[in-house]
Amino acid sequence: MSSGNGAAMRETENHFDVVVVGGGIAGLQSALDLADQDYRVLVVEKQPSIGGRMISLSKVFPTLDCASCITTPKMSAAAHHSNITLMTYTTVDAIEPAGDNHRLTLTQMARYVDTSACIGCRQCEYVCPVEYPDPFEQGMGALRAISVPFANAIPQYAVLNPEYCIGCGACVRACASDAIRLDQQPKTLTVEAGAVVLATGFHLNSTSLKPQYNASRSKDIVSPLQVERLLAPHGPYGRVLRPSDGKIPDSVAFVLCAGSRDQSIGVPYCSRVCCMYSIKQAMLLSGALPTADITIYYMDIRAFGKGFEQFYQNAKAMGISFVKGKVARITPQPNGDLMARVEAIEEDGRVMENRHDLVVLAQGIVPELVSPERLGAAKEEDGFIRRPDPLRPAWTGREGIFVAGTAAGPKDIVDSIMEAGSAAMEASHYLTQKRATADANAPSLELEVIGAASE
């Protein structure tokens, strides 16, 4: 076991005890649980900031804690941990065996900013003349071609998007610390790791998968991640408005299972979290829009986790209407209204036509990592990372490669955090076993038995 401060243990600059791929909540939790045991950990994150999906959520079920209040301390703890190194805006291209270790090929994308000089003052952003739809705000807000990605981003460095940069040089002139590097090129590097934790996360499948919902025909047929931003304290509009024309909605509908439980779109499984986040969003919307009607069209309400059922019952008591029914079609009207054609299963199967201002499609959770094989893992039929041993739920079946969170299947935050801890445990178990030489200082079992334990 390694002990003492990371610096003393550093074999080489590019060797780590563990590399965690993905800086979302699962990856960060794994990294912290390993670093707290004095392992040296590298976290590699594809986005310019760590925090993953969770940092963009408004509040989280069933406790309604603000998501950023739970995520930021973990992000901050990881960023300040003496045993953790963060590499953001970096992809992992390949993981291959290298003797007893793993060799990872990484590409550090060009940020066009020298991170050793940038102080996150945002002066470059203030002078940048080009704005584009902000991916963090799900396209609803604007981001400048050079900017700090979002308010609580870690690290707080600017990043330039070359697709929108016109090369005017205004940022170069504005930067007091001379941190802009327009000649920066992507950099490939390799690192070695004793073990790897894959925490590559998920994305949602497209709202356009089901043509009968006509998502491409109206901006008010939205994804749940858009609703998270609409509800977030720092959301794009500062309040809940429908994205087509800024109307304050008075009728919102949720269509559950809109991208899951359907073999025909390639997602036969249930995405596990849609029922609960829809209920949560419905509750938050009814707080933000006290006079609005809120309807949830569902097949089964899957409130299975700790405290979930009570949360669901509270939502019903709040007046959110739950309709067991199949939404056959959503038709945008010329005036912007959305007509939902619903077969209400519990009301004689009658077909209703309901008007809504905003319709949220609960899309399916699909793995972000398309080819786990490149990273030394295999995938299941459903595309998520395979875990062949029922007794080691964090193990990919490949020596020293573990998985945590939604990379291994859809799941909520609590379950992701649990798995992250479990992956950290299995990785530290593995590393201990690998260092076959017995630690002379390793503790041995001590106890006092009174009354002879022998047979």
Binding site: T63, L64, D65, G287
Partner: protein, 161 residues
């Protein structure tokens, strides 16, 4: 606008139970009067009687001790606290301070309703009672202190014998 008396209410809330209980009220976005101020405390068993009396003397109109009750994480602390409050209330009675200004109760981490009930009841009762009699409270404070310090003499006399 007529001057309306706004009582100053102090809640001493235990770290293990009542303080998170009060947090739960806010998380549920339920409201109570803003003249209620909450201080967290590991266990209110640490306060001698003169501490409470001093608070009244300084102008606190009512004190709600929101304890853990039977869930107290400290051995025997609740019983000691209860005995202390009994003595204090007796002294308040004798010294001319309304005993409704002191209330010992138990609030759990999810006792949202109980918390709201306790603080709103105290608020409305204190509005009826009006401001605390600070000179009476000062008398009680000094008397409590004297007794505590006298305990020293009793104790020393005992160990000498």
């Amino acid at each position: 606008m007529a001057f309306e008396f706004e009582p100053k209410i102090l809640v001493l809330a235990t770290l293990a139970c009542a303080y998170p209980g009060a947090d739960a009220v806010g998380k549920a976005h339920l409201e109570y009067p803003s003249n209620v101020s909450i201080l967290r405390v590991p266990s209110p068993a640490l306060f001698p009687e003169d501490f409470f009396a001093r608070a009244y003397a300084r102008g606190i109109d009512g004190i709600l001790i929101a304890s853990c009750g039977s869930d107290c994480p400290y051995k025997g602390a609740y019983d000691k606290l209860a005995a202390r409050i009994d003595r204090l209330v007796q002294r308040m009675k004798e010294g001319g301070l309304e005993i409704e200004r002191m209330r010992l109760t138990a609030i759990c981490t999810v006792c949202i309703k109980a918390f709201l009930k306790e603080v709103t009841q105290m608020d409305s009762r204190l509005r009826e009672l009006g401001p605390v009699n600070r000179s009476a409270a000062t008398e009680i404070w000094q008397a409590s202190l004297r007794e505590l310090q006298a305990g020293e003499i009793v104790q020393m006399a005992r160990s000498a014998s």
